[in-house]
Symmetry: C2
Subunit: 601 residues, 2 copies
């Protein structure tokens, strides 16, 4: 198969030569440091064919490399075949970091170029330091990729809608007050926000500019008494315009942001160097007093309020009904597995979710991966690339929905028929791992870094591992991946990154797995709400409430590997699933659910 990236790479190198650029850097990002980007920002996919996330490309006249993390190694190898770009497996022995690569590949006085709009200030500083060691020049103004990617699609600007207080639980005006209180403490004149989820959360507005994330392209500049929202006018209806006016927020054209900021030069600007792009910094200009910290809105939005929690639980019940119907159809032979493939089965699940009350869109593209494809952690089947299903082995389905009530994320691995002993044992290990984290009790101040080993230790004891975090925060009618809470043992960019303590109201996934290249993949994913537990002379304890209510396939477990404690925990969970979901199903489905949630002895 030919890879279109190869010719594009040749073109890029020509332009680089013409402009005197020795090394060109491309980040998988947009002007807002979004995790998922729209097609307008798909430079890396355009150049290499790789469609995953969390990647960086460095091109010189003789080399081209793409860094990505363990979730994407197998996918990247496949997709980049013939592109002329090689894979750097981030984190593995002998693989340089981007900044190390810069140090070793930039010669005295050479120019490195990168689009400053897709580069955070924090990353700019790190790379600039590496380049400076060789007296290199870091040019963030040119963007030769625009010439290569000449048919670049336009940035979307879909219509906004208001997330009403009955869903958000707190008015935008109250949220703005909280932010301004914080600005006052920090002695800031201005709060500049470019992270799309934070803007959407703060203003109780949603959009549809990024697939599976109901956000809208914009920048927000807040002073103590007014605000400016930089956004494409076509996205804003009369209703929204009036709503924003009520909040004393003025509309300005999206593209005008870079020119507008110099007005505030010299002021004290509160902003997050991790999400604000370098060109924004340059636009404020010298003499501006930058006060840098993680956006205060990040923790505010991660701690869900009572309304959000109540609603999210509703969303999980609605979502569980769709998932249970899906499992019922597969497990009872209602659909003929052998006539399905990964793509068609995924489509079936989309249809089932669409029936749910208040459904907006998938919270991310469904991963329905059969057999060895499930070893690719973030594999997505397409009409062109998909495997047929068989009556044996595992089908891994990682999916979720965004509803007006909340966002869900769930993975179930389903036995489609006969399993080998090793498959059953591995499934049981993943279950043990998931259960151990779920039953944790921990003191206030505990971070996901402290907790990760509860899940991962089950693997490590046996010389196994999964090459990704154990869990991530989940947004409320927002991105399915959200900070600052997460459950991971390694903080990649330490010491820049501080693991944030888990607080009551935060929702984090619990998704350990096992992945064997060329064989199969297993993942079980539930969402855990952090809740208050006992309080005594040692402090405040928290624990997790499981809010995902879908059975775990008992056909895949090896009961002898479970302790009594684990069996009790699993049985109690299944009892709750049955009690809550069965009344919402038809008779046949409920009968199946009853069997699927039977007690394990």
């Amino acid at each position: 198969m030919e890879n279109a990236g190869f010719q594009r790479l040749i073109k890029l190198r020509q332009y680089m030569k013409e402009e005197g650029i020795s090394l060109f850097l491309i980040l998988h990002s947009d002007a807002h440091m979004s995790e998922y980007v729209s097609e307008a920002d798909s430079d890396i996919e355009y150049l290499t064919g790789f469609s995953g996330e969390n990647c960086t490309v460095a091109v010189t006249q003789t080399e081209s490399h793409l860094w990505t993390d363990g979730r994407f190694f197998i996918q990247a190898e496949k997709e980049m075949l013939g592109s002329g770009t090689d894979l750097f497996r981030s984190g593995e022995d002998g693989v340089p970091k981007v900044e190390e690569f810069l140090k070793s590949h930039v010669n005295e006085g050479e120019t490195v170029s990168c689009d400053g709009r897709r580069l955070s200030r924090k990353l700019f500083k790190k790379y600039d330091e590496a380049i400076k060691e060789k007296n290199g020049i870091f040019d963030t103004s040119s963007n030769v990729m625009d010439k290569v990617f000449s048919n670049r699609p336009k940035l979307p600007s879909e219509k906004l809608f208001i997330l009403k207080d009955e869903f958000s639980g707190k008015s935008a005006s109250d949220k703005l007050s909280d932010v301004r209180k914080h600005m006052k403490e920090k002695k800031a004149d201005i709060f500049f926000l470019s992270s799309l989820c934070d803007i959407a959360w703060l203003l109780n507005l949603r959009g549809n500019d990024i697939p599976c994330t109901p956000v809208f392209y914009s920048f927000l500049l807040l002073s103590m008494d007014e605000g400016k929202l930089f956004i494409n006018e076509e996205a804003v209806s009369k209703e929204i315009r009036d709503y924003l006016e009520g909040l004393n927020i003025k509309l300005c054209p999206y593209e005008s942001v870079y020119d507008a900021l110099s007005e505030d030069r010299g002021k004290a600007v509160l902003l997050d160097s991790d999400t604000v792009n370098e060109r924004i910094y340059e636009s404020f200009g010298e003499g501006t007093n930058f006060i840098e910290e993680i956006n205060c809105t990040e923790v505010m939005k991660a701690v869900k309020n009572e309304t959000e929690i109540k609603n999210t639980k509703k969303a999980h019940v609605i979502d569980a009904v769709a998932m249970c119907r899906f499992l019922y159809e597969i497990k009872t032979g209602k659909i003929d597995i052998e006539k399905e493939d990964e793509y068609t089965i995924g489509e079936r699940l989309y249809r089932l979710r669409e029936e749910g009350e208040g459904y907006i869109e998938p919270s991310f593209p469904t991963i329905a991966a059969y057999g060895e494809n499930a070893a690719l952690m973030h594999y997505t089947a397409t009409p062109e690339m998909k495997s047929p299903l068989q009556k044996r082995g595992f089908l891994l389905v990682d999916s979720g929905g965004t509803y007006f009530t909340g966002t869900t994320d769930i993975t179930r691995t389903i036995a489609l028929g006969e399993l080998t002993k090793k498959e059953r044992e591995d499934f049981t290990l993943v279950l043990k791992s998931s259960l151990r984290l779920m039953r944790a009790r921990f003191l206030d101040g505990t971070t996901g870094q402290n907790l990760d080993i509860l899940a991962r230790g089950v693997m490590w004891e046996r010389g196994l591992d999964y090459k990704c975090g154990t869990g991530h925060g989940v947004g409320h009618v927002l991105a399915v991946h959200e900070g600052p809470n997460s459950i991971r043992w390694k903080i990649e960019n330490a010491p820049d990154f501080t693991a944030h303590p888990l607080k009551p109201g935060m929702i984090t996934t619990d998704e350990p797995g096992l992945y064997f290249e060329g064989e199969y993949g297993i993942r079980i994913e539930n969402e855990l709400l952090c809740v208050e537990d006992i309080k005594n002379e040692y402090g405040r304890y928290y624990s997790f409430e499981n809010i995902t209510l879908v059975p775990i396939d008992l056909d895949a477990i090896e009961p002898s590997m479970l302790t009594e404690e684990e069996k009790d925990q699993l049985n109690a969970y299944h009892e709750e699933v049955r009690k809550t979901i069965a009344p919402l199903l038809n008779e046949d489905e409920a009968k199946w659910l009853s069997e699927a949630t039977r007690a394990v002895e």
Copy 2:
């Protein structure tokens, strides 16, 4: 009981008034940021009576507060009674941090004073920032405490000795080469070292200036081809002088360091802002290019070489013989417990250790704490303050020795007779906790923050906790507390502090406990050597080798609370203790050891 601190506090306030100081800060530290300080630096004890570590005092005209951590809460309350200084329980709800206290207690333009020699640059910056918010002045040059503490003892300068290569495993000349290689990488002209353990380690020299830590007061300034050691001449014999000359290291008077540094102004100086004091920084002066990082020697000395490991294991065998004899005498009634008290029993243990080959000194003052005194985590009995022993309950003994072969640190909690059911259950919990950490297997990159919950989780599950870390690094013929390795869930000064991954060759203690004020305290402490485990497609796994070889009191356990896995682990441990130590004991002792290490069923 009268507390002499009260009058001294009045005096201090007078001097503060005279010099226009609104707030005076005192740190428990010396010019080298040592953990344990000599009497010459015991300002806090002089002023408040509190004799523990890790504390800070802030004095204004109307308030005086001392911050310390959970290990010392009970002790501090007792010792500071009537001193006029109150306890701030660091880390508890509602207790301000020092910098928060400064913000709320410094008024516009006021002066805060602190001895800059006892303040690290890092802490200076943090406090200075807090003070600047109120346009306050931070004066680090005056030291009114010198006037109050008029009979301050002189800084010791005991004779140095060489730790021969057969003990150190690597010559000073090779270590200096490693450091200079690192300086080259960092483009540093100068490496400035003030941490006493690092200087001692780097030069393979030892001293006797700080109780229980064989180090010597000095500063070391290294350039690429020579060095200067700032030290009191009387500490240096002809042999040492020749030895240093062989390393091209010149001797300079200790006190001359502050004047000497301006010679190197403008150079690139590599140093650690966490251990170098503020006045040193000021002495280098403006225009100096400070390259700041954790001392490279810290990781170098934490990863023990083969000789150090072999020798440390020898030290543990020698130490175990003393400990076993001590336990034998207590458990078999060879000594009449009821005629002993905490102090005399501690003295007996000192005598037994002194018999060991190559013994230098205790690695820290023995904690022999009976009954409720053991709830004071760092209690030390004195001839004046001690409790008699009885034939019931627990005696906690935390002790260790420094030998030419290595440094040990061990805690055993001993049943002196009848125990309550709750005492046995709590002892078993501590044992379970200790065993769970000990059997960990983990991937390269794992930190003590990741591992802590393995031990602590046993407590958290039951709504319990211990208010200290689970383990600390141990030096080799150096400080018994050493970084950068540790096992703790909370990094107090985050985000400044990066938890360092555990690496093969590092030695860390495993010492969970339970402490009930007014009742009893239990701690079990072993030392764990990090070793290579399996290596496979997931990476390099490490695990722990237990190098402490002393029985755990089986009279105190509740076998029904142990899983089969835990019983096997305990029995295997005790078998190794018996096999290794019995041959070194006399017949009666060996017979007792055989019984004390019996298999638990």
